[in-house]
Symmetry: C2
Subunit: 169 residues, 2 copies
């Protein structure tokens, strides 16, 4: 007999929101890869998300208030997706989840470097990254001298990838 109840536990409710891993994968790609268009999320997916699954998950994330959709001013026919504040505040969850995965699972070296930097940077780096995401996704003003976390993470990934490829010959 199925006897599932809802509860007001923060962890339980969080897990109900996430629903399945694809939703978090989409948020991850928007957050760390700054992918904002459907085609971009689809074609650059490391996990090869299928087009129908991506559509369904974007719809789900819109319904949950995790993302918004608007016409892209620079591409008349394209929609641009943005993270909401609710999604941006998942940065600490991704950071701790990535740190755990890096320690306990068979991660690839070039994909683990960002998790390492986020772990080492701690709450201060997470806050700086959330500030940057607010400017990229919500149009919040960027403070002068603010740390370009996204570029730093991307540069570290590319450096690591180049080393891995050089070592592989």
């Amino acid at each position: 007999m199925r006897n599932e109840q809802r509860s007001g536990c923060p962890i339980n409710l969080s897990l109900e929101v996430f629903g399945d891993r694809w939703s978090l994968i989409v948020l991850r790609d928007m957050m760390f890869g700054n992918r904002r268009h459907f085609r971009e999320i689809l074609s650059r997916s490391q996990e090869g998300i299928a087009s129908n699954i991506l559509s369904a998950r974007l719809k789900h994330l819109l319904d949950l208030g995790m993302i918004t959709k608007a016409d892209d001013p620079s591409h008349k026919q394209k929609a641009i997706y943005s993270l909401t504040e609710k999604a941006i505040e998942l940065v600490p969850v991704f950071a701790t989840l990535g740190a755990w995965g890096r320690r306990h699972l068979p991660v690839s070296r070039e994909l683990a470097i960002r998790a390492r930097l986020l772990e080492e940077g701690g709450p201060e780096l997470w806050a700086a990254f959330m500030e940057e995401l607010r400017s990229l996704h919500l149009g919040a003003p960027r403070k002068p001298g603010a740390r370009p976390v996204l570029a730093e993470l991307r540069a570290a990934y590319e450096r690591e990838l180049a080393e891995v490829e050089a070592e592989a010959g």
Copy 2:
């Protein structure tokens, strides 16, 4: 067409391990409720997990190396389940997930208090809690004067519950 690939991304791999919310719910109850026997996890579940689902998830968590199973020395017919180091190191993930859920989802007041304490305590409290879990689940020696985090969290929950009930008349 389904075109799912694996990737070595720490976040992706972490999500593959979790699989579904029930596995994390079981870990949460073992971790924060110190529930160690099948009947205890089953009957005290806030979310009313079904017996067949609980069996399957315990099996899954054993296969993943997140828990171990042994004969309980104090109850000859009962098995006792313990968290492994791999599961104990999920404390920061639960802490950040709970903090996010508390902020963005309709959590109940008495169930939100532990999430608040874990958030406010930060990495220092998480480390103390992991030390305590290592002693409870792995038999690690407890340092003299170590902070009893589990008892503190439980006391806060009971205080909050009493207040909620008093206000409800």
